[in-house]
């Protein structure tokens, strides 16, 4: 399956080509060529998926294969960083997800970004991102993953800051990059620790054997935990940064400053789930050797899911709502991984259900969340605003957008038989298996999800009539077709026998719905939707009920529980003002001052002894004599 290499190379070429030619290309040429390349990549991805899932099953278990691997850099006697392609169920699944969403976004952007300055740049960056993301999921070793991890980070930076003349966009891109970089630091340290003990970066070498390679890391303890625990926890911090887990989620809402299709691609469907993918990739180690870290992941995920859902309830910027929704949904995926208790997924042992559910939700979420973002983009383009206040009653003006948006909302809310229902239900089931408390927590979160999504839906498409001066127009076909396509997937995605393809141990599994959990979920979802309908369907008066009832909590949630302010405090006040500024001062005045001080001392010394050269003949002779006598004394004493 060497052709998989093309999946990496084509977007790379497209990036370099469009990037170098730049303005020499017309908008149209850049857009079309970028989209064509992506189409080819998508087809190749599908081909890969088809090829893989038809051929690579041995003894009923999906096998991981490496069609391509080459040494990129030697770092030591045994350590070497490779670049290669690893195909296994999750990477193939990710290939499909990424290429599909990316292609949709490419097509969508032809319409959405039309006439924007820097159109070519936009497409070149999109290609860069696709390349990086592909490289990330296909990584054969943890260092390759880190390399592409950084590259997706920078593509995200470049794309968030696409409108670089807007200060908010610049600030947001900077924030996104730095927060994730901060998390990546821990990822890198985790890699260093892990590789120090295992002497390899390779996934298969680390996870393929009987675990003896990890024994030295397990045997070494540092501050009360084994080195492996540390390493895996550090790696998870990296994952948490990219996947916007609390408290590293602050960058994601701001990242919405980027063009909306970018938000759909990067900040909803693909890059932000890289953290989930990373944990899934290293799942055998987490579950086999450091279950305590895995539990921690579950709690972080659960907290983040509800936390973000609560914030999403009160946001008024539609993209922000979606951003917090994304955070919350990724929390679901993390929870699902965290509540797994074993690799197995058989009727007897459901330990691996969470893993499967997580991957499934990753898949479905990618589809409906990108659909939501693209829909939101369509709305924004129509009314030229992000704010709910400027919207309302748009269902008549934007029929296609409206319908597809509704489909996505129903999916995320968990209404059967849409795809979101199936995957989320699996997660909640897994959570109940873990503990009842976790199950209830996740159910409540799901209820919040339904509520805020329909609040969003109603406030955009229902409520007051649209009062803008220009009559909103439905978006061009280049934008609506992707919406329709994604809506279709969302509609039928739930019927994909996902367990047949992706499970923790590679053995197929047939999804069975747990009816109790399913009924509870649906009821909760319906309650959420009902509440939203009640409050927001008609007019604005009722909409202010929520803020007035719980003003303190509302305000706190509206301000995102002041986490951003805390960050701002730490970075601006503490690091910038209280560390960097004094340090700069210290450098100028103390260290440099010491150097200047030497010069000053020399000059002072020169001043101090100038009196010796008094000009007096007798003084000269006197010094002469005294010197002679002193030296005599000195010499005699020697």
């Amino acid at each position: 399956m060497e052709y998989t290499l093309l999946i990496l190379l084509l977007p790379m070429l497209s990036f370099v080509g469009i990037g170098l030619l730049g303005r020499k290309l017309s908008h149209r040429a850049a857009g079309i060529s970028g989209t064509l390349v992506l189409t080819a990549v998508t087809l190749l991805s599908y081909l890969t998926a088809f090829d893989y899932f038809t051929t690579q099953k041995v003894n009923g278990v999906w096998q991981a294969i490496q069609p391509y691997n080459t040494t990129w850099l030697n770092v030591g006697e045994r350590l070497h960083i490779d670049l290669g392609i690893l195909l296994d169920p999750i990477s193939v699944m990710m290939l499909v997800v990424i290429s599909t969403v990316s292609l949709m976004v490419h097509i969508y952007s032809l319409g959405y970004m039309k006439g924007e300055k820097g159109f070519q740049r936009y497409y070149s960056f999109l290609s860069l991102f696709t390349f990086s993301m592909m490289g990330l999921v296909l990584a054969t070793n943890i260092f390759q993953m880190y390399i592409f991890w950084e590259l997706v980070g920078v593509s995200s930076y470049l794309l968030i800051g696409f409108y670089y003349t807007k200060p908010e966009a610049v600030a947001a891109s900077k924030k996104a990059f730095i927060v994730t970089r901060f998390a990546d630091l821990f990822f890198l340290i985790g890699i260093l620790v892990l590789s120090y003990f295992t002497q390899t970066f390779d996934f298969e070498a680390i996870m393929g054997g009987d675990g003896s390679i990890l024994s030295s890391a397990l045997g070494t303890t540092f501050l009360g935990a084994s080195a492996l625990t540390w390493a895996m926890a550090l790696v998870f911090i990296g994952a948490a940064g990219k996947s916007a887990m609390f408290p590293l989620h602050v960058w994601l809402p701001d990242a919405m400053e980027g063009p909306t299709p970018v938000s759909a691609l990067i900040h909803a469907a693909t890059m932000v789930v890289a953290g989930v993918f990373l944990v899934a990739r290293l799942f055998p180690i987490y579950i086999g050797f450091t279950p305590e870290v895995l539990q921690g992941i579950a709690y972080v995920g659960a907290f983040t899911a509800l936390f973000a859902a609560i914030i999403a309830v009160v946001q008024t910027d539609i993209k922000r709502v979606l951003a917090f929704s994304t955070i919350s949904q990724i929390g679901f995926m993390m929870v699902a991984l965290g509540v797994s208790t074993s690799m197995k997924l058989t009727p007897e042992d459901h330990g691996g259900l969470g893993y499967m559910a997580s991957m499934f939700h990753l898949f479905t979420h990618a589809m409906f969340k990108s659909l939501l973002f693209l829909g939101a983009g369509s709305v924004i383009l129509a009314v030229n605003s992000n704010d709910m206040k400027d919207m309302g009653g748009l269902r008549k003006h934007l029929p296609i957008t409206h319908v597809t948006f509704l489909v996505a909302c129903l999916a995320i809310a968990g209404i059967p038989p849409l795809s979101g229902f199936v995957s989320k239900d699996e997660i909640v089931t897994a959570a109940y298996q873990f503990s009842t408390g976790m199950g209830i927590w996740m159910t409540v979160t799901a209820g919040f999800t339904a509520f805020y999504m329909f609040r969003l839906y109603f406030r955009i498409f229902w409520g007051k009539e649209y009062r803008g001066e220009v009559k909103p127009k439905e978006s061009p076909r280049s934008m609506t077709y992707p919406l329709i396509f994604l809506a279709l997937i969302t509609l039928v995605g739930g019927f994909i026998p996902f367990g047949q393809f992706v499970t923790a141990d590679g053995a197929p599994y047939t999804i069975r719905l747990n009816s109790t959990v399913a009924i509870i979920s649906v009821v909760v979802a319906l309650v959420g939707i009902g509440l939203a309908t009640l409050l927001y369907r008609k007019e604005e008066k009722r909409a202010s009920w929520l803020p007035s009832r719980s003003s303190g909590l509302y305000k706190a949630a509206y301000n995102r529980f002041y986490i951003d302010d805390a960050y701002l405090f730490v970075t601006k006040k503490i690091i910038f003002n209280n560390i960097s500024r004094p340090l700069a001062w210290f450098d100028r005045h103390v260290i440099d001052g010491a150097m200047n001080g030497l010069a000053w001392i020399t000059n002072r010394a020169s001043d101090a002894i100038k009196g010796f050269q008094s000009g007096s003949l007798q003084w000269y002779a006197w010094v002469f004599l005294l010197g002679t006598l002193l030296i005599t004394l000195f010499a005699i004493l020697l």
Partner: protein
Amino acid sequence: MGEIIVNTAGAIPLTAYLIVGLVMFFAGIYGFFARKNLIMILISVELVLNAVDINFAAFNRYLFPDQMEGMFYALFVIAIAACETAVAIAIIINVYRNFGNVEVDNIQQMKE
């Protein structure tokens, strides 16, 4: 060498000469430091040189009477001191021409 009779018994001991020399030496140096007139300073230097002559002569006479090195050295010192004095006087006259007096405190134009 001629008939030089070294009679140390009952004569003035060497240390006495040396003390005289030392006293003259430091008297000269004191004069150099204390006098304000360049001529007087010059004379003080002469005193120093003469003290050295005494030393040479005394050492030669008392310790190494069989050769004349010290004596000759003293002679040469006297001669050279004379040259030095001549030149010094000439320069001091030049100082007088330029400054109008020969006070040592005046020749302090250059310092530091």
